[in-house]
Amino acid sequence: MIELLRSLTILVLVSFRPAPATNVRAYDTPNDAGGSVIIKWDLSKDDSIVTKYEIIRITGSPDGERVTAGFVLRGTNSYRDVDLKDGEKYYYMVRTWADGEYSDSGITSKPAIPRPQWFHTKRVVALIILIVFGFLFFYYLKLAREGAPLWIRKIAGLEAIDEAVGRSVEMGRPILYILGLGFISDIPTIAGLAILKRVARKAAEYEADIIVPNYDPIVMVAAQETVKEGYMEAGRPDLFNESNIMFLTQDQFGYAAGVDGIMVREKPGAIFLQGLFYAESLILAETGHSIGAIQISGTTSVTQLPFFIAATDYTLIGEEMYAASAYLTRDPLALSTLKAEDIMKVLFIALMTVGTILETVALITGNSGFHFLKNFFSMF
């Protein structure tokens, strides 16, 4: 009986036309490269029995040919029409379907004209941050050029570099420098190269060998140049041996297998793991520990930092690694940029505090106007 009633209700509902979708609006998609329009509408009152909405496009004038632009399912009230011509006028209608029946209000939207934009308005917050940072950056650069004193706190992992190289030399063992799985297009790899230069110079001073196995061939080339430069600075270009900076393979675990092999056979006294690392980080660090080497690691991969902290003697955590080149060279220009970073940090902390207070106020007063800062920061 209930079954019968149900099917009857459905039958009745279906044989009626669903209420049409109303208030159809179309406008150019903001912040895009052109060629697309966004269509929005108010859902049909019978949305719960609607099967789909059909979006109909009319090009040129409201009484032109009607073409189906696409379908969306019930509950959806917007559609993005793509592959359109910039500058052309487009009109839209939304047809509401319930099984075989449909209805539409017969009214088309006002015309929309797709255009490309010259500025991404959603990214204005990023631009502001960049401008403020840029201003601070150049301000402190100028101060540094004028000779203002710059101070940097002690970073244990970087202090230990000379000690590690020295100890390795005392034991008569080579130094192993691992740049990880980063490509040259990864900033941590470039930070790793900056530290490599210092290590190479120290190694040259002590006449120690330095081995650099590589995952990426372009990084290998850059590492060869970097080590050569380090040896030149130490005044020992004669000791430079390019074949010690070699390529292994572009396979994550193949690289780990190869580096492990080098570790157990060459028995380096000091191992540096500086760059971008993934799951192989612990394979390398544990093998390095098992041969008794002193290990200094550093990476910006947050998921791998715990393993480095556990398995190596010193670890440069995230930003500390980027600070390394300034720290090691004490180059005033580079140090000045650290000062700019620090000011930014204070600004961000202030911003977070303000944002948190605003959100709290918004929730207590129930005034959504206080969400403005949070809304301002939503970008994509």
């Binding site: 969306v72 399912l73 959806t76 799951a279 098992s290």
Partner: protein, 272 residues
Amino acid sequence: MKYIEKLAKIDRRIIYLILFLTVLLPYLFKISLPMKPLPEVVQAYREIDRLPAGSVVMISIDYDAASMPEVQPMLYAILRHCFSKDLKIIMLGHWPLGIPLGIAALEDVAKEYGKKYGEDYVFLGYRPGVAAVMINMGKEIRSVFREDYWGTPLDSLPMMRNVHTYDDIAILVGFEAGSTGDYWVQYAQARYNQKIILGGTAVVAPDWYPYLQSRQIVGLIGGLRGAADYENLVHHKALAYYGMTPQAAVHILIVIFIILGNIGYLALRRRK
């Protein structure tokens, strides 16, 4: 006293050996923990179980060898379930290096159940462009895959004759190790209302619970635990099911090692 101090310096090889045995022995002796299948896995099982024979299930291979131990058992379990219910299978993938893994499993299980290629299962393979593939299949599968993986035109395969769009596919099962699953939900579900079940590694699966709540997916199989539950449900206990015991045992073992190490370390420190 000396023995206690030794606890601080257990040779790593001894740790390795004990760990290896902890993984191996539960398999050899088929020791298993009593486990109640997770509701989201049961839901996935029921969705497939109630499909009428002859329905088409589409399976997507979006992982590669690195996530094989977690995801491959799910694939086997689902394939067994589908073939035992006489469902038809279309397999494809978005990770080129996972394709060989998918095909190996499909051929294995098909042989087990005596299924015929082209009539009971089809392998489409890989086409570049994740979102484009998903969207275009909503219009016509042939617009993306004119031929199957072996180069046979789809129309000459009996089971594909009436399969054109998502409307002809009862359920889509995505096996994931990255963000491809989100694309499936975004394109196949949101645009074409395709029923979706997702299975994936323990790392990616937790992100899908919101989909489950909003009914955008009708089942979720996460990590080795999810695979174990599914194996349990289809009564074919294998890698994952018996793997749960070593899984728990090793976690506890590592904690025990940490504690032993600390006791030894403390003893050493006291003497100093």
